[in-house]
Symmetry: C2
Subunit: 394 residues, 2 copies
Amino acid sequence: MTQTRSTGKSSGAKNSQADFPDSKVALFGPDEPLQLDSGVVLSPFQIAYQDYGTLNEDKSNAILICHALTGDQHVANTHPVTGKPGWWDILVGPGKIIDTERYYVICSNVLGGCLGSTGPASKNPKTGKPYALDFPVITIGDMVRAQAMLVEKLGIKTLFCVVGGSMGGMQVLQWAAAYKEKVFSSVILATGARHSAQNIAFDEIGRQAVMADPNWLGGRYLEAGKRPTKGLAVARMTAHITYLSEAALHRKFGRNLQNRDQITFGFDADFQIESYLRHQGMTFVERFDANSYLYLTRAMDYFDLQAEYGGHLADAFRGSRGRFFVASFSSDWLFTTEQCRTFVHALNAAGARVSFVEIKTDKGHDAFLLDEPVMFSAIHSFLTAAAEQRGLTA
Amino acid sequence: MTQTRSTGKSSGAKNSQADFPDSKVALFGPDEPLQLDSGVVLSPFQIAYQDYGTLNEDKSNAILICHALTGDQHVANTHPVTGKPGWWDILVGPGKIIDTERYYVICSNVLGGCLGSTGPASKNPKTGKPYALDFPVITIGDMVRAQAMLVEKLGIKTLFCVVGGSMGGMQVLQWAAAYKEKVFSSVILATGARHSAQNIAFDEIGRQAVMADPNWLGGRYLEAGKRPTKGLAVARMTAHITYLSEAALHRKFGRNLQNRDQITFGFDADFQIESYLRHQGMTFVERFDANSYLYLTRAMDYFDLQAEYGGHLADAFRGSRGRFFVASFSSDWLFTTEQCRTFVHALNAAGARVSFVEIKTDKGHDAFLLDEPVMFSAIHSFLTAAAEQRGLTA
């Protein structure tokens, strides 16, 4: 069974997004199982995706965007749950750097996500109930394998470009390693070829916070009509600190007080940074599934391209004929310039064509999602040159 | 009513430490109220403390050690709850850098703490039940005011030295500002004259984690015979990451696996860093009160010596005739060298005598508690010189 379904805008209710998203959906039936790194075979499954622009006649203008941990496929359209603009609206759209009048742009919800691709909130066909922790633990490799199946289903043999930052950047690296013949160029932002001990530590805090919430119920909260919102909010707040630099926090909030200039001698949010974090926590839980958070952080923890290639990272990229653009951000302490440099060196050692820039900014890890003119112009130059090499007419 | 009580070792049960600690206790009755910065008057109250060595005849050899957030008065003796050595056993004791054969060393549990000084776990005399959130919100200034009352009760007019790191360092700064005539010398490690936005953010995560625990019960868990251990463990785990550097985490744990060399494709602790953090969380809740954690982090958030002195930090130290030794640690990202430098500059501007050293280490914030030979020899030289100036015979 192979089909692609578009659900249109009919299923707007928040909770239905896991199985019936406001996105196109590629269904992979029993004849198209997904072999996972854990050894489990996942079947059937589905991948939800958004697309923008038009695939050209020789199918050479497709760009795949890979989203980060808490992102989703709604890269350049109004989000069906939050009503906010797409998360990379600033970069992707008609006439923008990733120009949807020139390129055919795809963004799919990752496997394990909660906006339409099969994940822990999806209905387990064996039980008729949400998978919860019966969903198999997945890897970045599994996410990319599912994306490759989607791309094939769309009839695209070679992607003009794969683009992503953070967990999205991990996916781009995985594409470069596992499907080097299918990728013409790669844009890799603010990521690493493996998660550091500190990154794993922060992920573990998030998971422990979720699991400590009594409404988590061993993962079976959806059936009980509950949600571990407090735990997930704490997880989000913790992660959010790692997305910002100390300098950005100081510039945006400093020690500014929330109400007038008096501390209250209490535990309400006295400081603006406190109410900002609480707001981040509260809005996140409206659009994200707690179990998905567990699975996706676990996939990032497990990511280690070097280990996957016998301890030699360069071997992951050996034989690559692609073009690579890599950017790190000077104040990013989640994925440091040093971490980026490690895989840039490996790409160099493998003989790949790589441009690398460390962008000076005080915005921290989140910089890759923000208005960073140097990043924009660098990506624009890189894509323009690659498009010429690819024979794409402007 | 003024008396000093020694409870000896008779009350070893964990839960009694809040009111009946295994320490000496100074009681401050209705005639000795504590005026808090919030405007509340706390009375009666008590301060639990340990002392080591002998006060000399002219009472000029007293060193006050101020403990950090999760420390306590058991600086150099076996801990009554954990059975472990004192937290600064490496530095304090007979023949050690802070030589208890030469100096009379005092360490008191901070106001708001949970090992015998009045805090949220103490019995509220008005209700006969634990204070919980009826305990007034306190400041670093309040802690130091209570210490000053203790020191006075012990008959000491001038402390030879006040020593502390992290939250303890904040207290030393407060002593230098509020009681400059009572302090001959100061040792200030790994701290800041105010909490940064990032520091407040991490504290807020910890508090939210505690308050999200259903066993917190609005703070009234002790009466219910419950304890918010899961929330407090998450708080501790989060804080613990900030005590270590990325490099230290990498060196100690890297991506090492807990069991053999296989990942389990699950949510158990696969990585050593995960089980280390879980262990940190679990052992902490055995010895610490969750409400105390809220109050002490709040006190740190509120600390802002510059604001207290009208925006001019140097004014805090104006007129100081003391000697200061300040150390920061190069890989400390909770209290950076930059934060230390800020108050060192202010001390300089106020004409104080200051030695400042940034110690190169990859051990992060926790370095001040560890075997750091450069720190040890610097403190030793400083104390020896100060002792000579003070006329203390070796």
